[in-house]
Amino acid sequence: MAVINLNVNGKKQSVDVDPKTPVLWVLREHLNLVGTKYGCGIAQCGACTIHLDGVAVRSCQLPVSVIGEKAITTIEGLSENGDHPVQQAWLEHDVPQCGYCQAGQIMSATALLKENPAPSDEQIETAMNGNICRCGTYVRIKAAIKTAATAKS
């Protein structure tokens, strides 16, 4: 066990955990931020996507010991009132079915739009290919990303 200091959603946090614990489980079980989801544990489904200094990463295979000073952003910290343009676009298109993967989808989409404010269809597909939606809402996700891109520009 080791005391590890983290910067999560702009707040300093301190956890006493096995340093190998994946960030996913630290967020969910030690910091009670359960918006970041467990789906596969091997970085194949994208449900656990968070931002590390603004870059989308899979938190399920990321040991908490390697984070250091980097800023973690989770779905809970994406916007103050849940009104990030991507979140708004998701609501406008009524994207979710079961909804379980959507936090990860949104985190991947926001990271994409930050890097590329007007992505092509192909660029969206490439950036989002690591996020599985078992309900098959892919068409709406793409439409919502395009709406968010328009809203931002």
Binding site: E29, G35, E92, Q97, N129, I132
Partner: protein
């Protein structure tokens, strides 16, 4: 023709118009009204992504005549005294709740009207309502629902009330966004895996690595000493001489349990277990069916292999099977046919792979059992838990969380029993968690299927005989009375089953999820052999069923099946040649609904891409268009995905795929670029929608692929036949 512009009607939900009231007044078990007019509607059924948590309360709100923006929705717990059929299965939530939910709203509205009539001393017949307001026109009196709620709650619940005419609907048929939308996109706790309680521990199980095996020995000496670990023990899946319910499925007689403080610690300790396994022998179990009758089921010993399954299926297909339906004299007609087409189709086991793996919270004390989590069959599982814990039913409390997918997997709630037994044993609140690997290797899978089809054409290319022989390991996918039964004079339907110790169960549109694709692919080949347009070929057959049906019992309405074919033909501009667009069609009936698909494939750099899916649906009245379209889109993507990519294979009883690195699910780049959904305008009471759009699209895909590449596909997943989408 109805065509919903879902973007127009779906602005982001307005912030809640009203604050929480000081007091709630319960008018019946489905709803309560606050003094300020806010209404809480209970959503009775499990929400697995099919949108019932929005669309079922819409039915209540419609008859209550309430302003939807003043409605908040709560998930009801299991409560068999107030609610009926709290189940997510068979695409029946809306159809079965169509009357009861509307009655709940209508009786409450009547109580409000009676309260107003009493207060104003006027006849109740003269009280009208609109958008949460009560009016008496003659005296110009009005009051809000909130103002009358207290008085209404004291009125006796009326026995009989009139329901609205369909033409008066204000909410039903209009698009209403997901009531949990905001919580979903902001990551609020909603799912079973998110649930936590004071003092809660985490549990995981270790199960045999292969179907056909059982526990021999446990060495937990290392695991017990690891950080955060509370206990390691074994539990029996069933007591001795126990009739398990149909929904209480476990292939493994005994499980090893690790309990600790956190998921990570428990995961690590589980890896440190030294477990030995051995094969079990042939044996028999008692199982009660959905309808409650107890049957003996033989469980064969042995470690099964997919290669053996493939041979087994072709062997069975070569033998005579059980005749389920026979019209005319198919054997004789096949002998004299001008042309006979014979094809075989197969599909593998599938794992449901809900994105949220199986999990459940349990807190069992001597007084009661409190259970919280994702389950499609709470009412059935309550019985299993009661029997297993030896507690009366009334001491079992089941609450349902929002569920990260269902697809049939959560009809089978043995994980809920496991959680309860673990909590009882360690005398603490506990959440049982399956990892993805547990979920995929301890599944209740879609069976492996096989179907052999034969068709006989006469010299004029008329279909004169049709034969289907279908079977599976260990269940048959045959629906003997569905199309083209009824349309062919000489018809033979046979089925067979082969035993297996691999646990199977319902998977989105059970059996249809294979047979639709097989049958619709085959009909495409028959139409081609008959030199007919594939849509016209089907319509001609349906015309026969409609006007002069063969046989006494045909499950489908030929007119409605023809209706979706005609609609998709028109919407897709079928018959119009477009450069580099290759099209396939299919149509299928299941869960009382009718769906037809046309898929447009475009080939670029030698690779086919699904450019567009055109889909026509007849599911009766559409309650919530924006969500209905979403379900049809999702079902279409799901069908394309499973036909193309997914499959679970076994080597010596062990699943070869246990996570998404090997088990393929469709991804963004492989999904259709566009999906157009069209509903047949209807005044028929709603029928199923969660399942019907899933099966037929597989046939449309196979038929479009043939047009694009010249190659027919017979074995799912088609990926194994050397094709990918991009």
């Amino acid at each position: 023709m109805l065509s919903f512009s879902w973007l127009a009607g779906c602005k982001p939900a307005a912030e809640e118009a009203l604050a929480l009231p000081k007091e709630w007044f319960e008018l019946n078990g489905y709803l309560k009204i606050g003094e300020n007019g806010l209404v809480t509607i209970m959503s009775p059924n499990p929400e697995i992504g099919q949108n019932v948590k929005t669309s079922m309360p819409m039915l209540v709100a419609e008859e209550l005549d309430v302003d939807w923006k003043n409605v908040i929705v709560e998930q009801a717990p299991l409560n068999t005294t107030v609610f009926t059929r709290q189940l997510a299965g068979g695409s029946q939530s809306i159809s079965q709740g169509w009357k009861s939910l509307r009655m709940a709203g209508a009786t409450a509205r009547q109580m409000l009207r009676e309260a107003a009539a009493k207060t104003w001393q006027v006849p109740v017949e003269e009280i009208t309502t609109e958008a949460s307001m009560l009016y008496h026109k003659a005296s110009s009196k009005s009051a809000s629902y909130g103002e009358m709620a207290s008085a209404a709650a004291k009125i006796e619940v009326p026995k009989e009330v009139e329901l609205k005419n369909n033409s008066d609907f204000k909410i039903i048929g209009t698009s209403r966004n997901n009531v949990d939308g905001k919580k979903i996109v902001t990551g609020q706790p909603l799912y079973g895996l998110d649930y936590r309680a004071e003092g809660m521990l985490v549990a995981m199980i270790a199960h045999p690595p292969a179907f056909g095996m059982k526990l021999k020995s446990v060495d937990d000496s290392q695991a017990r000493t690891m950080p955060g670990i509370k206990d390691v023990f074994t539990i029996k899946s069933y007591p001795e001489d126990y009739a398990q319910q149909w929904c209480d499925v476990s292939s493994f007689p005994e499980l090893v349990v690790v309990v600790g403080n956190t998921t990570w610690e428990v995961m690590n300790a589980r890896k440190a277990l030294k477990l030995e396994w051995e094969q079990f022998q042939d044996h028999e179990i008692s199982s009660s069916t959905f309808w409650g009758t107890t049957v003996k089921v033989k469980v064969p010993g042995g470690l099964e292999n997919s290669s053996q399954h493939a041979k087994l299926m072709t062997d069975y297909a070569a033998k005579n099977a059980k005749v389920v339906r026979k019209d005319g004299n198919p054997e004789a007609v096949f002998k004299k046919a001008a042309k006979v087409i014979e094809r075989s189709y197969s599909a593998p086991f599938l794992a449901h792979n809900t994105m949220e793996p199986m999990n459940f919270f349990a807190h069992v004390t001597e007084e009661k059992a409190e259970l919280v989590g994702p389950i499609q069959t709470p009412e059935f599982m309550e019985k299993s838990v009661a029997a297993r814990l030896n507690l009366p039913l009334e001491k079992i409390d089941i609450q349902m969380t929002r569920q990260g997918g269902g697809f049939g997997r959560r009809l089978y709630g043995h994980y809920l029993v496991e959680a309860a037994v673990i909590s009882q044993k360690i005398k603490a609140p506990v959440k049982l968690i399956y990892t993805r690997e547990d979920d995929m290797s301890f599944g209740v899978y879609r069976p492996a299927y096989h179907a052999l089809y034969r068709a006989a054409l006469d010299a004029d290319n008329n279909l004169i005989a049709f034969h289907v022989k279908a079977g599976g390991i260990p269940e048959s996918p045959l629906f003997a009375d569905r199309f083209p039964a009824g349309a062919v004079d000489n018809y033979l339907a046979e089925e067979w089953t082969a035993p297996s110790n691999i646990s199977v169960g319902a998977f989105r549109a059970p059996a249809s999820n294979f047979i639709a694709g097989a049958e619709q692919s085959f009909l495409d080949e028959v139409a081609e052999a008959a030199e007919k347009d594939p849509i016209q070929f089907r319509l001609d057959l349906l015309d026969r069923t409609l006007n002069k049906p063969v046989g006494e019992k045909n499950d489908y309405e030929a007119k409605r099946l023809a209706g979706v074919l005609e609609l998709v033909r028109s919407k897709a501009n079928w018959g119009q040649d477009m450069p580099n667009v290759h099209r396939g069609v299919s149509a299928y009936f299941c869960h009382d609904s009718y769906v037809a698909h046309v898929i447009d494939l475009v080939v670029e750099n030698g690779k086919p891409r699904v450019e567009k899916v055109h889909c026509a649906v007849d599911c009766g009245i559409v309650v919530n268009p924006i969500a209905a379209i979403n379900l049809v889109e999702g079902g279409s993507v799901d069908g394309i995905g499973h036909a193309m990519y997914s499959g679970l294979t076994f080597t010596n009883g062990t699943p070869d795929q246990t996570n998404f690195n090997k088990y393929r699910l469709i991804r963004h780049s492989e999904a259709p670029k566009a999906i157009d959904v069209h509903f047949v305008p209807s005044t028929v009471d709603p029928t199923g929608l969660g399942e019907p759009p899933f099966p037929p699209v597989m046939g449309a895909l196979a038929n479009a692929l043939y047009k694009a590449t010249g190659k027919r596909h017979y074995q799912q997943p088609y990926l194994g036949e050397g094709i990918t989408l991009g």
